[in-house]
Structures are given as structure tokens and as C-alpha cells.
């Protein structure tokens, strides 16, 4: 598809012999938020891990701006503009807030720009600026989510793969994070592939939604249409 940032075709992946994902097709355009929805075990996290290369797909094609990502090492993806914030937030709890954030920009050759990106993240998340020297394990759940998001943004990604950002957070904090994602998309053209169990929150900011069930795409549609489809919500999304 022309103009697509991320194109996924026929992706099959899993752990060991049995695939978790079967023939998944997906497209994310620049500046678009696509929510990946589905019950526990539907394959949402596996999808993100396969996209970033943490597990090797057994079949299918993943391309970024038309360039095939097959054979790209995980540690080189960030240079291509993909940031993956894993489930459980991935904050390195033994490191300080500042060290975690610096880690997000270490791959950049332009040190001045990396420094600037770091300052921008501190402006975006004032609570982090107040806790620069605190170790990751001293942060609250919400602060850790801010840190993980902020660390991804330090690398100035074009595509954010975000796994369950609302997990374990109070509804108010979840709301703040969703609003921030929408704001980032509007301001910077960031594209987001958002894996969420909190379907209402995800659909409130997403442009499109993809529903996974047992590793297959059962529906993809505009977010508003998914919100209004009572049968689909009952069958796959549990509300």
C-alpha cells in the first residue's frame, strides 16, 4: 500500500514449533494510531515481539517505508525509527531515571540532538525531571510508564510499538498517557501500534483497530466502527 509506514503481510510467528500468530496482515500509516485488541493469549504481545525481531517470524514479510526488515538485527531497529516499549514497561530498575533516558539516545551519532531530545522528554514529563537521580525501582507504576515512553521518545522514533501501557495503572493515569499519545501523534506525526487490553481507552485515541483472536486477525476497521459494533465487542472484546 502506498504511503504505508509499516506493512505486515502473512506474518506467522511463535515460540518453538507451534505458531502463536497465523498469517497476520497489518498496515500503519504515518501519524496513525492503530490499536491491536483481543483477549489474553490472542497473540498481541507476540505480534510486537515478532515485529521488532525479538522472536523470528517463521513466515511473512515486515517492511518499514517499503524496506524489508528481514535480517535487520534487533539492536539496529531503533536506527530505522522503530521504538518498542515492551510489556511490563522495560524500565531498567537498577539504573537511574537519567541513565534510563540517556540509554534511549545512545545510538544517535548527533550527540547534541540526543541531548536536546532528552531535555524535551524532561519537559514533556515534569515528574521525571524531578526524579532524575532516583533508581528505576523507586518509581511508581505511572512514573515507570512515563519513563519507558520517554526513553522511547529520546530516540525520535517514527513508529512506536507500545505494549499494554495501561497495565496496572489508575484510570486517571491511563487517561493522561492516552492523551499524551494523541498529542504526540498530532504534533510530531508519530505512528503508534498500540497493544491494549483496556479496549475503551485504546479505541478512544486510535484511528483504526485490529482485533486478534487465537493469533488471527478477525476484524480490522475504523475505531469508531469497532466501538459501535455491539456483536463484535461482546464476542471478542468483553464489553
Amino acid at each position: 500500500m502506498s504511503g504505508a509506514l509499516l506493512e505486515v503481510e502473512g506474518l506467522t510467528a511463535g515460540y518453538g514449533a507451534a505458531p502463536v500468530l497465523h498469517d497476520v496482515d497489518l498496515t500503519v500509516r504515518p501519524g496513525e494510531i492503530v490499536a491491536v485488541l483481543g483477549a489474553n493469549g490472542a497473540g498481541k504481545t507476540t505480534l510486537l515481539r515478532a515485529l521488532s525481531g525479538l522472536i523470528k517470524p517463521s513466515r511473512g514479510r515486515v517492511a518499514l517505508s517499503g524496506n524489508d526488515l528481514a535480517g535487520t538485527r534487533v539492536e539496529h531497529l531503533v536506527r530505522r525509527g522503530i521504538a518498542h516499549v515492551p510489556e511490563g514497561r522495560g524500565v531498567v530498575t537498577e539504573l537511574t531515571v537519567d541513565e534510563n533516558l540517556r540509554l534511549g539516545g545512545l545510538w544517535q551519532r548527533d550527540r547534541a540532538d540526543a541531548r536536546k531530545a532528552l531535555d524535551e522528554v524532561y519537559e514533556l514529563f515534569p515528574p521525571l525531571a524531578q526524579r532524575r537521580s532516583s533508581a528505576g525501582h523507586q518509581l511508581s507504576g505511572g512514573e515507570r510508564q512515563m519513563l519507558a515512553l520517554g526513553r522511547a521518545l529520546v530516540g525520535r522514533p517514527r513508529l512506536l510499538l507500545l505494549d499494554e501501557p495501561s497495565l496496572g495503572l489508575a484510570p486517571k493515569v491511563t487517561g493522561q498517557i492516552m492523551a499524551l499519545l494523541r498529542d504526540l501523534r498530532d504534533r510530531t506525526g508519530l505512528a503508534v501500534l498500540l497493544v491494549e487490553q483496556n479496549v475503551r481507552s485504546a479505541l478512544s485515541i486510535a484511528d483504526e483497530g485490529v482485533v486478534l483472536s487465537l493469533g488471527r486477525v478477525v476484524t480490522r476497521d475504523k475505531a469508531a466502527a469497532l466501538r459501535d459494533d455491539t456483536d463484535l465487542r461482546h464476542a471478542y472484546l468483553g464489553f
Binding site: 525479538l54 539492536e75 539496529h76 515492551p86 537498577e94 541513565e99 545512545l106 526513553r151
Partner: protein
Amino acid sequence: MGQFIYLTFDGLSRGLVYAAFALALVLIWRAARIVNFAQGAMAVAAVYVAWSVTNATGSYWLGFVVALLTGLVLGVVVERVVMRFVDHSSPLNGVVVALGLVLVLQGTLGIVYGNEYQPVRTPFSRDAFEVGGVALLSRYDLFVFAAVGAVVVALTMLFTRTNVGLRMRAAAFAPDVSRLLGVSVGGMLTLGWALAAAVGSLAGMLVVPTELGVHPTAMDVVFVSAFTAAVVGGLDSPIGAVVGGLVVGLLLSYISGYVDVTVAPMAVLALLVVVLLGRPGGLFSSSKARVA
């Protein structure tokens, strides 16, 4: 009182060597979760190479530099050629492979250099200065203090002040997350092994001349003391390794001086047992349980 002061300085000097060796063990433990039982044999290999270079050129310092470089190369080779291919699903696998490496290295060194002790000279006198009739410490002790001190400062700066150090720590604590952030985790692991082996070689260069000389098994007893030091400090803690090294050095020195030199190795093992029973994570461990 004079004897106490002498034994204290002697213990600190020995302890710093154990500290350096324990630091090498801690570096690899933090990076790879392996207790590198081959560290002693690797260090002896580096000392043998240095011994050859010094004998051929007459320069102790050229041999010294070559020993550190040999350590670096040996660390890279052991990680890239051997340890990278070990199945790390069980912590025992790495230990067994390391023990196998000890046999291979010691056997090879025995074939190449023979199984007799070869005297190794020190760059400075080991005669202790006397102040008011009390023997304190020698020029060589001062060299040990300076060398280990420089290593501790350099490693501290590396890990706390540089981007490479930040990458190494992140890769050790959270490999998958680090890869997603662009860190070459494999490269950091290799660097960790290289640095550890170089520090181990330094410890070998410092301690071998003070014992019977160089021999394929010359570091075996030192390894036991350094391993105890690392466990006393908590295998995860570089500061713990230094403190543990000093504790073991002082214990060995006092027991040798006041009780009997033959009892000293048993005292080290007793300390190991007491620490493992009373505080298995070590004195400086975090609250997290160790996995092995």
C-alpha cells in the same frame, strides 16, 4: 604491636590482589551470570606469556603490558569461541565448561612450559621499610596498592561516567530491553569478559612473584581466596569484591602470623561457609535472591 602493624599492611597488600581477582569474577558474574572458574588458569596463561617476553627482552614492564593484553585477548576468545555457545538454561552448564577450560589450559601450559615452578621477578624490592624499628610495607606493596587502586578507579569511572559503561550495565541487567534501545548486548558481553580477564591477569602478575613462582596451577589457591572474597562481598557488588578481598587478605595475614600459616587456607574456607550460612547473598548484596 609491631607485628600487628606489619601483618595489617601485609594483609591489605594481599587483600588488594584478591580484590582485583574478585573484581574480575564479579565483572563476569554481572555480565553473564557465570562464576568463571577458569579465571585463575586464564591469568596463569597471561603470566606465562609475560614471563616469556620478560625473559626474551629483559624488560619486566614490556612483559607486564603484554600480560594485560594477553588477558584482553584471552577474554575475547573464551567468550566468543566457547561461552557464547554454552546453553545457559542451567547455571551449572557454564560452570562445567569453565572447569573444563581449566583442565585444557593447565594441560596446555604444562606441555608448553613444563610442570616446574619458574621464579618470576618483581619490578620493585619486597623488603619492607622500617619506621621506628617496625617493618611496615615494601616498595612492591606500594606498587600493588597503586595498581589495584588504579584499576578500581578506572572501572568505577568506566561504569559510572561513560556511555560504554552505561551500555554494559544495561546489557547485564536487561538484555532484551537494551537490544531494543540499540545496545549491542553481545558486544558488551565480550567487552566484559575482556576487561575481566585483563584484571584477572593483573592480579596474576601481582601475586605470582610473591608465591612460589609461575606454574600451571599457580593461581588455584589464590582463586579460592578470591572466590571467597567475591562471595563475602556479594557476587553482584564491585565494592563488595574490594571489601571482601581486604577482609580475606587480613584474615589470611592474621591467621598466618598469630596462629599458623598452614591453618590459613582453612580459615578462608571457614569464612566462606559462615558467610554462605549467615548471609548467602553476601555482605553487599541487594535484597534480590541470587539465581546460583
